[in-house]
Structure formats: C-alpha cells, structure tokens
C-alpha cells in the first residue's frame, strides 16, 4: 500500500467544510463559492485569447496559469459566465484550494479530490467529471510550464 501525501491545508479545509454539512447545505456552500470567484485581472479581460477553454466542462470555462519566477508559486485564473453557478463554484473551490501552491504540491493532489466534496449525489456525473477535468487540465498546464525536477 502506498501512503498518500496529505492534502495541502488550504484544500483540506475546504473539503472539511463541505463534509461537515448536510447535502442541501453543501450546495449552498458551492453557491457561496461561485459568488466568490475572483474577477479576472485586466491582462486577461483585455486579452481573452491568453486563456484556454476547458472543453470537458458543460459550460464555457476558461483557465490561465502563471508561475511566479523566484518562488515557483502557481497562480490560477478562471472565467465562467454568471449563468453557470455550478461551474463557477467548482472553479472557485479549485482557486481557493490550489492558488499559491508550488507545482509539486499541486501535481501530488489525487485526481479524485472533487469526489471528496460530497456532492456526487446532488450533481450529475457529467458535471462532476467537468470538475475532475478542470483539475486534470491544471496539472497538465503545470507540467507544460514547469520542467520536471
């Protein structure tokens, strides 16, 4: 048996917050996350071509990733329409859970993390897969941007 690396604290906290709630309240929390998705900085609103679309998501979701030169910290930027609160909510969870971590930490996060929010019953499988795809895309972009050690 392999021992799993513990989740980064900022992500583990979010999962605990979801797990502590009953199902309808978990949806409410996801809604709050969707409202808290940070707006894009001007360099992306003015140049939307710099972002990449995650086509596996049901609603248009755009993603960009930046690596801070010295520290190697990863910063994430998401855009999704207001009429897609579930997609925005997932993006906001990943933003709060991953933003500012380094490449190795994010790459070590298990792919099934979205399932641990306890939303699989309320959200259709297709949509849950959208969130897994977002995480997969983030990891792929990190591998492209950061050379393997």
């Amino acid at each position: 048996m392999t021992t799993e690396r513990p989740l980064p604290a900022q992500l583990a906290e979010i999962i605990d917050d979801f797990q502590e709630l009953e199902e309808p309240d978990r949806l409410q929390l996801l809604l709050e996350f969707s409202r808290g998705l940070p707006p894009l900085p001007d360099r992306y609103t003015e140049h939307p071509g710099l972002m990449e679309q995650v086509v596996e998501c049901q609603t248009p979701l755009f993603l960009a990733l930046e690596v801070t030169p010295e520290s190697g910290d990863i910063h994430l930027f998401f855009a999704a329409p207001k009429e897609a609160p579930t997609t925005r909510g997932f993006a906001a969870v990943l933003h709060e859970g991953l933003d500012g971590l380094d490449a190795a930490t994010i790459l070590a996060i298990p792919d099934d993390v979205p399932d641990r929010l306890g939303l699989s019953r309320a959200i259709t499988p297709l949509r849950m897969r959208g969130m897994t795809a977002m995480l997969g895309r983030i990891k792929r972009k990190i591998r492209e941007a950061v050379p393997a050690p």
Binding site: L27, P85, T86, T87, R129
Partner: protein, 303 residues
Amino acid sequence: MPKAVDTSTKFSEYAHPERIVSTQWLEEHLGSDGLVVVESDEDILLYEIGHIPGSVKVDWHTDLNDPVNRDYIDGEEFSALMSLKGISRDTTVVIYGDKSNWWAAYALWVFSLFGHEDVRLLDGGRDKWIAEERPFTTERSMPKRTEYPVCDRRDEAIRAFLPDVINHFGKPLIDVRSPQEYSGERTTMPAYPEEGALRGGHIPTAASVPWGRAAAEDGTFRDRAELDAIYRDEAGLSDNDDVVAYCRIGERSSHTWFVLTHLLGFENVRNYDGSWTEWGNAVRVPIIRGEERGEEPKGYNSK
C-alpha cells in the same frame, strides 16, 4: 379550477394552446390562487441566483430520478414532492427553465407520467423572462404544504422501453441529438465530455431532427407553420403516426415529445428515455453509422 388559456395568436395555431403560456400571461397571473410556477434547469444552482417570484425549484436529477434504479420516482415520492412544492392535483403548473426549456420540458413530461392534468410550459423560458426584465428575485419561496394524492406512474402511453423500440421498426423514429452524435462521430453533445456509450451511431431508420430546431433564437417555440415544415415535410411524419423520439438520456427528446404532442397534435408519441446511453451499450441491437437513416432491420420485431 384551471387557469384561463393564453389566447395569443401564435398559440391558437398549436394543437393544444392550453399547454403553453407567454411571459406576459404569466406576469399577469403571477401570485394568483391555483397557479404554481416551477423552475427546472440544467444547472442545479441557477434557481438560487434568481428566479420568478414565488416559483419553486424542481431538479430533474435529485427530485425526479430514482437515486438507485435507472428510473423515475414512484407515485408516493411524486406525491410527497408535489405536496412539498405546494402543488395540488388541480393546480395549474407552469414550468420554465434554461436552454430553451430543455429541462423544463423534461420535468413536464415526468409530471405527465403521473397524469398531472394542467401542466404548461412558459414560451421562451428563463432567458426570455430575464431579457424582458420581468420581476426576478433571490428570495426563497415558502410554499404551503398541500395534499397531493398518490397516483400511479403510467408509463405506457408516453414512454418507450428498449423492447418497445425493437418492436417499433417500420414506424417513425426521431433522433433529436446533434448531427455528430447521429452519425456516430461522437456519443455526446459537442463540447460535452464523451461518456457512457460503447458504440456511436443511431437507431436504424431514425430521422435526424436536432431538438433545438424547434426553438427560435430567443428560445421560444417556432410557430405552427415552421414546425410543420420541419417535422411533417422534412422528417416525413404524417397524421396518426406512432412516433418514438430519443436522445442521449431522454431529456432533449422530452422537448421534441412536447412539440409533437402538444404543439402539433400527434396523439401517439413516446419518449424513449433509455435513449442512446442504453441503445449504444445494448448487446446485439442494430446500429447505423453515418448520415444515412439506414434500412429497416429484419428479424428483430415480432411482426
């Protein structure tokens, strides 16, 4: 007492104008006794970011589907749901939703399985209501619990199962999915993840009429003449036809079922909700790949 029928000229040309209301009609009747407005969307959180005042939410996934069996809820669960939403057996229910009423039509079809008499769609759905800047709120509705009788779900008339479809060869089938799903190039909508079907293609002889063609750019239904041109002239349906419509899991085809049954007046239309996720995985059922409808398969049905 059922509410008055919307007498808009456009609707009077439909076979059953009592099944559809305009945004104007709904605003005029909003809050009146005997009327409950239901929102049903693809996105489970959309209702929470704003809805028609007093409307209640019904989620197709968590409220209408059985969580274990691939089936709908039963009579007792439907009764409990209705009572929770403040709906009585004689309530006029108006359903609206996102994406040209895609899920709203699905909810309406499920209400029809339980024989709820007066259930209508809001023409143009959520987007048109918002575009016209009609009243909108985030306030949670608190419906008064009602008594709703336990009614058996009656599938026969409007729901087809796989064996029914096999026995249906020789009669019209409408495939409402995208052209790419029809040809077998994909097994799910463009821009959606591929999932759930081992084989791509369509049921032999099915005509391809993507569901969205029944809707105009603003999400309202096309008028009678336009719909007749699509389904009669182009797809070849004629009066008294026995029709089965299908898509991937039965939601988009509910929209087409609504159009054929209530707007065009076909009396024998069934929705095959097993749809491609069942057919494309079933062993030894015939499939056609490519753009041609294909020949009627021999030796499958009991004819």
